[in-house]
Symmetry: D2
Subunit: 204 residues, 4 copies
């Protein structure tokens, strides 16, 4: 990134670190994002494999865990203009195969689950309220896509007063350039970028 | 963008067009974003000049107009982790010179105004409620930065059921790559990209 | 109400009327609210019968229709302190008999549906976004309880810029005094109080 | 309340108690609510006097303190249908005498302040985000009116996962019946009712 100097000069990119209590968020690792023929592509499947490891460690560490997936309950009307912009979204109903969580990162009955209709895990869900109730101030963010739902959730996590930590090996996108561009923006403005290994050491 | 084919294959990037009633949103064209020594840079000042033309036309056409600016009312505490990530934000108090609207795009007393503490014009404001009350379904989006507050507002406009139209000559960023990367993402997922000339013809 | 004079003097209780486009909202007419042994009581079952008539008329008139019900997806953790205050709520899981819509007001697949975890139909749902997408500005409000979820939804409908019209024969509560007290407050501050007959004439 | 038995049978009205960290919220103790000729009446002025004592104690105890007041920034358009229902609200501009905080409960520059356009302290503000950033899980609620902004804020505090504690001597209304009816509802469904003396002992 050739323009990095202006970010440094303007004080962007400081480190947040871990706070008082950490939760794990997994976004849209559902069947429809595992195939480039539907909504997947590039490095998403690798990110799912890495996240399965993190999920396992988070459960051992007793972290609150939240899972969100995308689906429409209303033939696409409840997805609004997002569905008009990307018509494939209108076909992903709550019961469709594409809407089901991937087996390796399947929620347990005690874990938080929301079906969302838009990009952010916070929009139209009570995810923020659940985090407040659990006393969480730090959010490990995993899922897909980096430039879509991961980024929208990261921006909202910041706005909701949380410390967003984006786990770089555990987020994936359908294309490489948007993946890297959004990691850069998130790391400068909203979130710490942290590797899976660093997280595993911290929460062990 | 070398990966554009996968977006096309997956149905991204359809056109929304204008709807029933259009409003204009101007984001963060405030003094602190006019200088690269504070939070500005690259093409922001040109975007302000173009937006002044659009504002003039929108007033003539009788469009509802909303203005938002960023500031803290509480020594930066109310900016949360966003201020910890970018400490310069904590110094922009409501009364500071950096928080004041730029003269050429100054609001009229009858126009909607909010001070916001985060990226999105929708977060922590009643902008969405005002748009609903005005009967607006289409939002012309201008302001800065493309990869920050413009993008966050565009994602939220989509989630709120609106048609977001990003006016490409009227949005600016402190650096070139993030500007173009966010235009691409917004155009594929959430918004139509539209030029100032196209808008001027439509609303005349 | 002996204090009504002060409300009149202070300009409360003006009429809103119908606007551009009307939708119908039905709140929490689910099995658990049909019995005083669970969460029901007083006039709720009569309100359900009346609402079935309104629903039928609204479908004939082509109004957008939204249904919400209360349930927890997470053993009550996602209900937060609301569940600590009223522990019976924690047992109403999404699949429980108490969480299912009452037969006479069952949604059609094309109608908007949300499961909510709190009182307001707007909180933690994308109901407001769906209304915006449908171009709705006027909301007929039915359901239970008058002093709980109906009132919370009415307050939020007002805040979201809509015209809330509470259909007095179609809302019910578990106890009489709170029912009447909340009707008074809503009629003075947020909503028009309107009878089923008046609505049927208007939308016919 | 003759119907109290059904609330007890259905498990309503359990106690929440204090949690990990407590904040104080003061709602709409502004000049316009001190006179029955504008928006005041009944016991509001007594509630202000009591709240001044609580504010003093809260500052000594180092509690985070939030102040909200009602005003329009836009000639009443940004108040939406709330202003159509209660036209007096449209005249309370941000700079008007009626919109200014009462002297005895004036905020300090380090305390959280928001101007709101609707009933709830949470709606169209970033109050919830600030509470999350401060690590607050328990909210002492004071202000006016009990049946209006206090109740709306209490319902939202519950929905946001917080423990709402309504300080009964520190909330007031323009009329007696709505004051008592809303205290009953809040105590059964959303919040603990607690006296000023009890709070002073707890936070001392």
């Amino acid at each position: 990134m050739k323009d990095i100097a202006i970010y440094e000069k303007q004080s962007f990119g400081q480190k947040l670190g871990f706070g008082r209590k950490t939760a794990l968020l997994i976004i849209d690792f559902q069947v429809g994002f595992t195939s480039a023929d539907v909504l997947g592509g590039f490095n998403i499947n690798q990110a799912i494999d890495n996240t399965a490891k993190l999920l396992n460690a988070a459960r051992k560490a007793g972290l609150p865990i939240g899972h969100v997936r995308f689906a429409t309950a209303n033939n696409g009307r409840d997805v609004g203009t997002f569905g008009d912009k990307v018509p494939a979204l209108k076909t992903i109903t709550e019961e469709s195969p594409e809407a089901q969580f991937v087996e390796s990162v399947m929620p347990l009955p005690t874990e938080y689950v929301s079906v969302k209709r838009h990009s952010s895990a916070f929009f139209g869900t009570n995810f923020a309220a659940w985090l407040a109730y659990e006393g969480v101030d730090t959010l490990l963010i995993t899922g897909c896509t980096t430039s879509g739902c991961v980024r929208a959730s990261t921006v909202d996590a910041s706005a909701h007063g949380l410390r967003p930590l984006v786990v770089t090996d555990c987020v994936g996108d359908r294309a490489e350039e948007p993946h890297h561009a959004s990691l850069f923006d998130m790391g400068q403005k909203y979130a710490d970028l942290i590797t899976l290994d660093e997280v595993l050491k911290e929460i062990a």
